[in-house]
Amino acid sequence: MTTKWESVDHFIFEEYKTKASSLGIYRIVFAAYVLTYLPRHLWIPSFPDSFFNPPIGLTIFFTGFPGAPFFYAVNGLAIGAAVCLLFGYRTKIASTSFALLLLIGNCWAYSFGKIDHDITLIFIPLIMQFAGWGNGYSMDAKRHALEGGRQEETTAWPLALMALIVGLAMMTAAVPKAASGWLDPHSHAVRAHMLYNVFVTGRSNWFAEHMFRIKSGIFWKFFDYSAVAIEAAFLLTVVRRQAFRVVAALACFFHLGIALSMEIAFVGNIIAYAAVADWSAFESRAGGMLRVWNRMLGGLSAWCVLGGGGVVAFVYLRFGNPLQFPQAWDPLGVTLCLLSSVVAAVFLMGLLRDWFRVPSRALILFDGFCGLCNGWVDFILGHDRRLLFRFAALQSPAGQEVLNRFGLPPDFIDSFVLVEDGRVYYRSSAFLRALRGLGLPYSLAAVFIVIPRVLRDQVYRVVAAHRLSWFGRRNTCRVPTSEEAGRFI
């Protein structure tokens, strides 16, 4: 058992530990994406200063927009920084420069009154440089190896901070929705926003037209509730990386739906979720490609990268980014949403497959005096077709020995305990895992594992606290019958 402060420290310094090579792949993905996204701000000088309508921020000290050369310089330098980031050349300087240049450009772009919520694209390079994302698949790593210098170690806290930032940012979307009536059964908020997108913003499309033909209130309210739930779930799961990944994977489907029906592709968010993904899976599948990348880095000089960055910047600023489309419909954004949904589906299916893989043996420790616990043991005995579970009362010598082995106190009787594959589970996690072991239909209840443990355990605690008054207490500790004897230790 750990204290609350130990748990906080575990979240900050341990939970999001990642290999340098995984972070290196993530840096390449990020840089490749931002090279499709730039330049961003060249349209600003086509409007006069009278359109200046800044939010509270860096531009309230000014009275109008800078001239075109300023935006060409900001975007040209940002493109150069993105190229350096791609190859991992002077990664820390490139990361900071890119973030600051994008921030400066965006401050002016959003001084027309509208803020596009792509702030994660600024936070990612600012934070991830501290994680050591320049230590893998980078020119910096090659240089360190050649010079024999000590490479900075990879740290987990920046990833935890990135996850926290995503969680807090998503909560700023969930709270006003919940407060303004999205959860009201009559509000039809998603439907209203789709109408806004089609009739006011002019983003009419096939998906929206077909969805508008559906009258069912349940159908529309499902989207309202699930939008609020998925946005809030990020912050609720942030302390558990795997749970956060599940929420991020589900959010990819959410973003795909928005991209298809409203033509708003929140690719910046998807790129931020990708920070917590397990890139080592990609590494093992694309090892050949990454070896080629590493060989290429070995042959690159600083002048190649800087010159290449200059050429890319010139082409983008002179002729436009060939990957950007002039019309509102953003095929690249939709494709990235689609791709992320496929990856998310594969991840979730893998997780489900692992979840429903039943262990060969499991041990349940229960309160031998509790009526509810004994009823629960009877239920498992009656439905355990695979003879998976063995049992011991928490108060028995065998039960006490197991508690001692896993560092649990001897008076730990407010929860039944499950030992499975050498790991110990208690409260709601033990309950759901035990149901999973019983097979269909009981194993379907295991889907509730996606609810954050802190919420599940709260329900469990309420039942556990009242179990003796609600379900009675036995006068003697349970002794197995002769038929059950083989199942008890």
Binding site: P55, A179, V200
Partner: protein, 184 residues
Amino acid sequence: MMLKGKSTIRLLFAAVILWQIPQYIITARFREPYPALSMPDFSGTLADRNGNIRLRNVKCKVLFQGGGLAWVSPHTLLSQAPDSHRALIMTHMFSPPAATPDQVPLRTLKAQLFPGWILSRIRGQEKGLDPQTKEWLKRRLQVLYPSATPQAITFVWYEDVFNVSQVPPVATQVPIGIREVGFE
């Protein structure tokens, strides 16, 4: 640049969490700041108790010298700006003038320190358009209609009212007001 020491990092986490308090206050009291740790709330547009969804919309009528007339969509007029910005720019720049504009103090210390903030409040309150905006509109219409000379543009504001019981949705238009801009 390195962040060393567990205490510094813990403080950084605490600061990020605590920053949410002033950010929520600024957003509620004024409007969303930038930069900020926030995502779009989409909180405004909902169906009312009668199942009506009301969307504020605009269309632009251009009158040419010699009596010609054309309707131009806000998206065409503001096509240089990203499409996500257009509705807000239209609302801020070309809404019907307020009957009783707020008094915006121009000679205060606040106006000296934060001129952009004060300017953004004035623009939404102006009875007549700023000469720069007028000039921009004229030039823009000349680009869109090179063979005609624009005489005036009228921004016709209305509400599209949809009822959730109608499938597919059909809008009823309710007028809100107009803003007329003449070019001498």
